[in-house]
């Protein structure tokens, strides 16, 4: 009985501790697929934004703006107009804070948002040559970055993008989906964190 319990604990631990990317099988590279779907671009748009972090809720408006110099700006304001933060990503993906109010000016907050928006804007996939893996009906293109691995996940025949993910040490950290819509004008963007409770939901605003 004690032995069975021990085996059960080991089994639970193995399942729990198993890499979420362990089931991926290395496959020959396919340049055509990423060439067809990349680079990801979001057209300059305003989004109705809803952010939930550890039981706290904040809403506002998020602007994604493509600048003439090919950099991208992500600006979050309140519905009543006050600017909370303005982040910039250069065309090669370099991040900087243009402005941020005191309430958002925390290293952990800024780093988390930087990673989320960089994945959403497809910046880790700018350098082509991701390694290709398959599992079931999904094809993963893994792009190793300094602070984790960014996954670009398509269906089997590379007809459409399924989702984007950040992973690190075999753990899935963040998923970005655009349910029911596609780049460059996704009507909805959902960003979900898997290691702590945080989600961002963006709904494209049709300007009058």
């Amino acid at each position: 009985m004690r032995c069975l319990l021990f085996e059960l604990i080991i089994a639970i631990c193995l399942i729990g501790c198993a890499s979420e990317y362990a089931h991926l099988q290395k496959a020959p590279n396919d340049k055509d697929c990423p060439d067809r779907l990349l680079p990801l671009v979001i057209e300059t748009s305003w989004y109705d934004a809803s952010v939930d972090v550890m039981g706290k809720h904040i809403s506002g408006l998020l602007l994604v703006k493509n600048m003439p110099d090919s950099s991208k700006r992500v600006v979050f304001t309140s519905e009543a107009g006050l600017t909370f933060f303005d982040f910039s990503f250069t065309k090669d993906g370099r991040f900087s804070v243009v402005s941020v109010i005191k309430q958002f000016d925390r290293k952990a907050v800024i780093q988390t948002l930087e990673k989320d928006f960089s994945l959403m804007l497809g910046l880790p996939f700018l350098n082509r040559g991701g390694e290709r893996y398959t599992t079931g009906d999904d094809v993963y293109f893994a792009f190793k970055e300094k602070n984790g691995t960014a996954y670009f996940i398509t269906n089997k025949d590379c007809a459409s993008l399924q989702r984007l993910e950040w992973g690190d040490n075999g753990k899935r950290l963040v998923t970005v989906r655009t349910p029911g819509s596609v780049f460059p004008t996704p009507a909805t963007i959902e960003v979900d964190h898997h290691t702590f409770k945080m989600s961002i939901k963006l709904t494209r605003i049709q300007k009058e």
């Binding site: 809403s59 600006v75 009543a80 006050l82 991040f95 243009v98 009058e208």
Partner: protein, 222 residues
């Protein structure tokens, strides 16, 4: 040439731009109000403003809000409905192109978006208390009594323009000035312009104003 890490250099550059913009904005503050001249007898204006605006017990109106991101040459315009009832009840309801409602009633503020609603006790949050008070002061004509602002008053033929410079650190972090335009005919607010330190600005323009209209207190219920 900045020898520090790139992000530090960029931040310094950003702050320098903000600083230069802030200085420029203050230096040009007066000339911004084209067509307006300073009010001669400020004491008389204060007395008249207090007397006339105290006659406004309620306001029901529509509004158009325009948020301008100056450096990005972007703007977003929204429209909605506005209700005020003396002495401390306000409801702002954004209807297009997004829906969002703010209700201020006494010490409580409610924020409702598509997903959730949040109730805040303004007494427990000084910033909310100040923002609540700005809106109330602007629409009920008590802004000249506010300790949160130094107010300069200008006029043209049809309107008074009140330029409000925040005096408290918490408000100065957000706003360089707030400009309130008041109709000389009835002393009701025509527009509120909130200027941020970055140069961004938000203007709320009130339209179809019904002063002292009868409507239920249920408008301000949570």
């Amino acid at each position: 040439m900045c020898k520090e890490p790139v992000i530090v250099c960029d931040l310094k550059k950003g702050w320098l731009i903000l600083l230069v913009s802030a200085v420029f904005i203050s230096a040009t503050g007066y000339s911004q109000h084209q067509g307006y001249r300073p009010v001669g007898d400020l004491g008389a204006f204060e007395r008249q403003f207090a007397a006339e605006s105290s006659k406004i017990a309620s306001i029901e109106s529509t509004f158009t809000q325009e948020k301008v991101l100056t450096a990005l040459t972007e703007k977003i315009t929204s429209t909605g409905k506005f209700w005020f009832k003396r002495s401390n009840k306000v409801r702002i309801e954004y209807l297009k192109p997004y829906t969002y409602t703010m209700i201020m009633n006494g010490d409580k503020m409610l924020f409702r978006d598509d997903q959730k609603e949040n109730m805040v006790n303004v007494r427990s949050n000084k910033l909310f208390q100040q923002i609540n008070q700005i809106m109330i002061d602007c629409v009920q004509g008590t802004v000249l009594e506010s300790k949160d602002f130094n107010v300069k008053v200008f006029e043209d033929e049809k309107t008074y323009l009140l330029e409000m410079d925040p005096t408290t650190r918490s408000l100065r972090e957000f706003f360089s000035t707030i400009v309130l335009k008041v109709d000389k005919k009835d002393f009701a607010a025509n527009s509120i312009e909130m200027n941020e330190r970055s140069g961004d600005r938000t203007t709320i323009l009130f339209k179809d104003k019904k002063l002292n209209a009868q409507f239920s207190d249920a408008v301000f219920a949570f």
